[in-house]
Amino acid sequence: MKDNLMAFGESAARDLGAPCCCGPASEGDDREMPGYSVCRFVDSFMETPEGAVPVVKTRLERVDHLGTLAARCNVGRSDYRVAPGLYAVGEPTETAPVLVTANYKMSFDAVRRTLSGMNAWLLVVDTKGINVWCAAGKGSFSAEGVAAMVTKTGLTQVVSHRKLILPQLCANGVTAREVKKRCGFRAEFGPLRASDLPGFIQSGLNADAGMRRITFTLKERLELMPVEVSLTGRHLLWLVPALFLLSGVGPGFFSFSQAVLKGVAAWSALFTGILAGAVITPALLPWLPGRAFAVKGALAGLLCGLPFGLFYWNEVGMGSLFALICWLTAVSSYLAMNFTGATPYTSPTGVEHEMKRAIPAQAVAVIVGLIIWLAAPFTG
């Protein structure tokens, strides 16, 4: 069997006792199978009544950190997943706890790295590569999915107990009693953060209030920033040529030199607005006055508009400068409003309430800015 799994050339070379070509042949691995490769996070395989189960490493390696970094920068984030199914941590027995998580690689990594030195089963549910909270909110992390994975992995043959530990943040998508009804396993909600799992397990599955409350610290907000900039900024890229063209409009129909001068100023206003709305607002979130994000964003925009205005004081006319500050404030306010989706404390009713008031105000700022911007060259 083992020979059949080996590439022909490699096995032939080994028979001859010589490297196949260009240096020594890489050491064959008896886990090799044609068409498959062993994931880097798998340490070994252990035998269970349901076949071989991969034992995962509890230390993240460089490739994991690079993957996290890329996903944080929105590179390959929509396809950053692990295969759903059953994994082992340490040397779990039939009485070891079963922890459930999403098949987003970053969720999976967060769970396994916290379980160093522990023995547990990890049931990875197919959430389409989306994190626990978002998957539950949008229906891909459900009782049905959890029960389906319990059945598919044959978990009843692997463990003797009938209990699953779910991440607390899947509770908006997973009905615990529905899991029990569908697969016979009692579903208990574990802590909100993966890092509290050891404490939760060691205390006999008890979570203190701190383990149940969500946080949104500066670090957590900063981690979301690159994705926020890339997601929202991308929608504004079409403004780059548009602003350039608008800037050239003048008494002589279109002036290229005027387009260069004013266009560059308009671009820097756009980027200042993105900076204020998608970077400054998230960073200063608790300290910016107001509850509505659109208000916080507008204030951050005005704050950044000050140095911007001083820099461009003599570069463009007063009217044009006013127009630019209108634009950057509107952009900042809009992007800040979009940041609601990345936070863990905004209610949909509240977001809709603020949007219905903020979007008209943002539109007015853009239109007023546009009129002044276009009129400025004609009024001299």
């Binding site: 509770a171 946080t215 905004t346 009713t349």
Partner: protein, 95 residues
């Protein structure tokens, strides 16, 4: 989350105390500590802390909690306005 509060008087959350059996599951699942147990019943301690995720209502065994659940995400709501609530998404793999 005492330092980060969203707009007050928005949450559609309601607790029907007469139905409540005091199992405490709402106090377990809520990430904002909106509920507490007072004797044999749950009560709402911090209505304005509610983000309407719907975890409590979904898991309440006697349907004593009602809330209009959803995602507090502007991009998602805009997409709902355009495509209809059933087809809403954040677009571009937001989350």
């Amino acid at each position: 989350m005492k330092d980060l509060r969203y707009i007050d008087n928005m949450a559609t959350l309601k607790l029907h105390t007469d139905l409540c059996v005091g199992c405490g599951l709402c106090t377990t699942v809520c990430p904002h500590g909106v509920f507490s147990l007072e004797g044999p019943k749950a009560r709402i301690d911090d209505l304005n802390g509610c983000m309407e995720c719907g975890a409590c209502a979904r898991n309440c065994p006697v349907a004593a909690i009602s809330v209009n659940p959803g995602v507090g995400c502007a991009a998602y709501i805009i997409s709902g306005w355009i495509k209809g609530k059933d087809k809403a998404s954040c677009g571009g793999g937001c989350c």
